[in-house]
């Protein structure tokens, strides 16, 4: 764990993630007490005003405060991202681990299902299903994203649990007479936790991006504020071509930041799982170079 926290990537990533989580949790409180502005209030005296003065990040075409919206949007975006990732990951675990660990007919059926869902084109299907369910709220959007997002992970988990199921320690525990369920939860799953964490982070980025993409297409809950709906509103009001950059840059940047942060944490997870990657980091190389130079060896 300490090794995990040592790299700058993980630390930066966790800090940023933590910051946005904080925003998501305390956002409403923040906007009310710190910023002092309701993200939905319209300040008709400041329409599409650039940053400064009363509105630190400027206002939208509707006189709504961009900063307050960005803060409020953290909750919407993270909500969809986390929920979708949770659903997707849970399904992936359910299907993948069951399939890999139990094998046999269960495996054949689940594997076929996984492969079929995997080849169904994701975004278009998402669009179509979400399109049918339009206007039903972030819950449904997260649900749809999650429901379509599991097969990749399930496939990986299946392969992994297949290999774990044949590891000696599992065989040993089985010979001790452990029950299958206990084996799955206490022996197999903990081993996949790194992989699962990594999958979850990936899925979260995917979920946030997918929400933003769907919102951009108008498939969203427009009574909720999320970064996606902000970009959509800006696009609808031609904010880009009108140069109202303060309106559409912050939400896009936030998405990019959170994505980068999750990816950075993921680096750490990957390096934890794959020491070869760890040895290939810049700090490791630099240290080696210094040592070599100190010894005067190696031209």
């Amino acid at each position: 764990m300490t090794m995990f926290l040592r790299g700058w990537k993980v630390r930066v990533g966790l800090t940023v993630l933590g910051f946005f989580t904080f925003l998501a949790v305390f956002g409403p409180w923040l906007t009310e007490h710190v910023v002092g502005i309701d993200p939905r209030a319209n300040d008709i005296t400041a329409i599409a005003a650039p940053p400064g003065g009363d509105h630190l990040l400027g206002t939208t075409q509707f006189g709504q405060d961009v900063l307050a919206q960005v803060i409020a949007g953290a909750r919407g975006s993270l909500f969809v991202g986390v929920l979708a990732a949770a659903i997707g990951t849970a399904l992936a675990i359910l299907v993948g681990v069951t399939s890999g660990y139990f094998g046999g007919t269960v495996d054949n059926v689940l594997n076929l299902l996984t492969n079929i869902v995997l080849v169904l084109p994701g975004l278009p299907l998402l669009l179509i299903i979400a399109g049918y369910l339009q206007g039903t709220g972030l819950w449904v959007i997260a649900l749809v994203i999650g429901l379509l997002g599991w097969p990749g992970g399930a496939r990986t988990l299946r392969a992994q649990s297949l290999s774990i199921a044949n590891r000696d320690f599992l065989v040993a525990m089985r010979m001790l007479g452990e029950k299958r369920r206990r084996l799955v939860f206490f022996e197999v799953l903990p081993h996949l936790s790194g992989l699962i964490a990594s999958m979850f982070l990936h899925a979260m980025i995917g979920g946030i991006m997918a929400e933003a993409g769907l919102a951009f297409l108008g498939i969203t809950d427009s009574s909720a504020v999320s970064w996606g709906t902000m970009i959509q509103a800006a696009q609808q009001q031609s904010a880009v071509l009108r140069g109202l950059w303060w309106w559409f840059v912050p939400p896009g940047l936030c998405i990019a930041l959170i994505g980068t942060a999750a990816a950075l944490v993921n680096f750490g997870v990957d390096e934890l799982a794959n020491p070869k990657l760890r040895a290939a980091t810049r700090s490791a190389t630099r240290r080696a170079r210094v040592a070599a130079r100190a010894a005067g060896g190696e031209a």
């Binding site: 990537k9 076929l112 492969n115 079929i116 080849v119 169904l120 084109p121 994701g122 975004l123 278009p124 299907l125 669009l127 179509i128 299903i129 399109g131 049918y132 369910l133 980025i205 991006m209 933003a212 993409g213 951009f216 297409l217 108008g218 970009i231 696009q235 880009v240 071509l241 140069g243 559409f248 896009g252 998405i255 990019a256 930041l257 959170i258 994505g259 980068t260 999750a262 990816a263 950075l264 680096f267 990957d270 794959n274 070869k276 990657l277 040895a279 290939a280 980091t281 810049r282 490791a284 190389t285 630099r286």
Partner: protein, 348 residues
């Protein structure tokens, strides 16, 4: 473990061929099953979901004409678009029959234009734009990934990898918006919409205009897609570079270039390649948002407009086409992977 005695090679080979066929049959079976599921899903979705096509048309007609569609017109439109009470099973078989004949029906929004006409109109654009950019992004990303992974820990790697992480985390439609604003609107270097200059009807002028119109969307797709390839390739390279055969290749005194390309990259690229084939399969549905931002006349845009108007026949047609493309790409990935990796080719 199992060794083939040379004497037994002949019958072995025949057996191997037979096994290969059986394998192919199995795979084909899977693809058929997947196709059938997609087709069935395609059939069921519009029927399970609330709302019908007529509403979409009426709403849109009102908007376009600016007049309330009169009650008698509403009735007419409902009459034109199907009898929702018909027997579901019969409908299903009729639908399957249609699909087999590649008859996707008639578009609702462009009544009575056949869906296949619309598909044929959009397909080349998407295949051209997204296909080319997918290849480009793959080549670029993989190439840079080889370098970054080969010199893992170097300054190049230390700068490129985190930067790429950031770049690939940026929502791509947002990048597209920014690009459109900067290069299309402010600088005016590129057109803001469309796929070609309609006045440059043919010949090289047409071709040039296609390049010109496609440049900006292509650049944004490449921009947001190459990072994934880069990072994937880098990590595979880092792992592969530490393999003994790479060490041995170095020990053999081969030139570093050769070791990097023929030994390390050649092996490291295998997983990326599967991803590439799948990405090619995703080409048709992949760049939907980009197409919308740039009003590019492709499949994504078609699907989007169909969706907005509940043009089920078009939606189904697009979806089916995309699914078929993905399946073909999977098949391709399977076979080409086997070509690239002898361990799989021989079926161990």
């Amino acid at each position: 473990m199992t060794t083939t005695a040379p004497a037994a090679a002949q019958p072995r080979r025949a057996a191997k061929a037979a096994r290969r066929w059986r394998f192919l049959a199995r795979r084909l079976g899977f693809y058929l099953a997947a196709l059938w599921s997609a087709v069935t899903l395609n059939f069921l979705l519009p029927r399970l979901m609330p709302g019908d096509a007529a509403v979409g048309i009426i709403e849109r007609l009102e908007r376009v004409s600016g007049q309330q569609v009169s009650p008698s017109a509403v009735e007419s439109i409902q009459r034109l678009f199907g009898d929702p009470d018909a027997n579901l099973l019969r409908q299903y078989f009729a639908y399957l029959g249609q699909i087999v004949r590649l008859d996707f029906g008639v578009s609702v929004q462009s009544f009575p234009t056949p869906v296949s006409d619309l598909l044929a109109q959009s397909l080349p654009w998407t295949v051209g734009l997204v296909g080319a950019t997918t290849v480009l992004a793959f080549v670029l990303g993989t190439g840079l990934g080889v370098l970054a992974g080969w010199r893992a820990g170097s300054r190049f790697d230390a700068v490129v990898s985190p930067l790429t992480t950031f770049v690939s985390s940026v929502p791509y439609f947002w990048v597209a918006l920014l690009a459109l604003w900067a290069f299309g609107f402010l600088l005016g270097w590129f057109p803001l919409s469309g796929g070609y200059d309609p006045d440059a009807a043919s010949g090289p002028a047409f071709f040039l205009s296609v390049l010109h119109y496609g440049a900006l969307p292509a650049a944004t797709i490449v921009f947001s897609a190459f990072g994934g390839w880069l990072l994937g390739m880098r990590n595979m390279m880092v792992t592969t570079v530490r393999e003994d055969y790479v060490l041995l290749a170095k020990a053999k005194g081969l030139s570093p270039r050769r070791v990097m390309l023929r030994y390390a990259a050649r092996n490291a690229i295998l997983p990326n390649f599967t991803g590439f084939a799948l990405a090619l399969g995703g080409v048709l549905g992949g760049a939907l948002l980009t197409e919308i931002v740039f009003s590019y006349p492709g499949m994504g845009y078609l699907l989007y407009s169909a969706l907005n108007q509940r043009d089920y026949p078009v939606m189904q047609g697009v979806f089916l086409l995309i699914t078929i493309a993905v399946l073909i790409a999977n098949l391709l990935a399977d076979s080409v992977y086997a070509l690239l990796d002898p361990r799989i080719r021989e079926g161990r």
